[in-house]
Subunit: 232 residues, 2 copies
DNA sequence: ACCTGAACACCGTTCAAGT
DNA sequence: ACCTGAACACCGTTCAAGT
């Protein structure tokens, strides 16, 4: 507030103090995240933006984790729908790639997604579409049910991992340390690592992501669940 | 310090103030984590335990993330080695399960592992063993190289996800919300979700983990990497 | 070189009191 | 019922000053 002398521009454009509501809180949270990243979306900062005290937010939001989950649910609305053309595999991969790309754009959200999954309409729609594509590919329903979970988890974890690296130079340094360790492995103590050499670190992140999707989709179609699909 | 009047028991047993060193710092950090969880392993708390100020730790540790990675590397020493008996698949799964079990015991560590991978001797040994098992199974080297990454990521992400749920009642509530949303999905708007019903949420975490390993191992063996293995 | 006191700039969450 | 001031109990990190 000390830094906002331009607030009362016009009463129509931006009311000095709109009534608090969950909807408005989440919207403001999304705005802060887009502008400054999820790490800035704190109860205190959000309250400041909404011209109130942090305690007031707790009337509408249970805690910070729930707030972050709500943001993700909101963002799920921005991902592209599965394209109408192509094989079911191509469309499935396109949708998953689009989901991952969204998380790549909002790095810290991926980590939040791993902790608290969204449960809103948008998330249900995504699951529904994925199930439809797997069904179209003739994947047995039980395998599809578990498969959706694994596919989304892989996409989310990949984004979370990559995201952290991009974010802080410290995390980057940590990754470099692994790179050096792999390259420096001795053929005596770690023959397989030494033999593979650069192959362990080869490929673009996108290539690896795509390969992972292929691996999962293939495996999901091949491996029966312990419950079994035929007797269900 | 206010709570530790028993400190100077004996100079041999527990010197009031051992010289600071990275080794001792990490050891103290592991101790706090075992006793109270990773969230209590803060620079301030750790400094208090070591009878110094937080600033002193920065001589040996770059930041909190690096400290957490060092703890994980340490813990990697406690996982069971791959058993000598059984098929390569059985031994591979046993090793991965053992890795995941360790992370399950120290929940928050799994999330830290997703952010900053360890790069110490222990992590290299784990990778080496996994590569050896995949080679024994006749998996082409390029696929094995990328496969190790995916397998460890899956194990880590699964632990991180499950861990968060176990930890806080809030995160648990968030998961329940998803459960309810899936169960309550209408057959009109979400036919596939409705048709699958309980199958989406069926199975024990262990069963799902094991199925996921099978899916990945199968896929890793089937899907060639874009670089190709034959021409390398 | 190594260590540290003190400060800077923050956090989440609770709760009694107000309207 | 809804909102909030103030407090409680913490954080990570930096840096000038000491030994």
């Amino acid at each position: 507030m000390t830094e906002h002398p331009a607030a009362p521009r016009s009463r129509r454009e931006r009311p000095a103090k709109p009534a608090l509501a969950r909807e408005g809180i989440v919207a403001a949270a999304v705005e802060i995240m887009r502008a400054e990243g999820l790490q800035k979306v704190t109860m205190r900062r959000l309250a400041q933006e909404l011209d109130t005290g942090p305690a007031s937010l707790y009337v509408y939001v249970a805690n910070t984790a729930e707030l972050h989950a709500a943001i993700l649910d909101e963002l799920l609305g921005t991902i592209e729908r599965a394209p109408a053309e192509g094989t079911w595999r191509e469309r499935l991969e396109a949708l998953l790639t689009s989901y991952t790309a969204m998380l790549f754009e909002h790095p810290s959200l991926a980590r939040a997604a791993l902790a608290a999954r969204p449960s809103g309409e948008r998330y249900l729609n995504l699951i529904e579409t994925l199930l439809a594509l797997l069904a179209e590919g003739g994947i047995p329903p039980g395998q599809a049910a578990w498969g959706v979970d694994v596919l989304l988890q892989y996409a989310t974890a990949t984004a979370a991992e990559q995201a952290t690296r991009d974010q802080s130079p410290d995390a980057d340094a940590e990754w470099d340390a692994l790179t050096r360790a792999l390259r420096g492995a001795s053929a005596d103590t770690h023959p397989h690592i030494a033999a593979l050499g650069p192959q362990l670190l080869s490929g673009q992140p996108r290539q690896r992501l795509s390969w992972g999707f292929h691996v999962l989709i293939d495996g999901i179609g091949h491996i029966p669940t312990p419950t079994g699909d035929s007797c269900e």
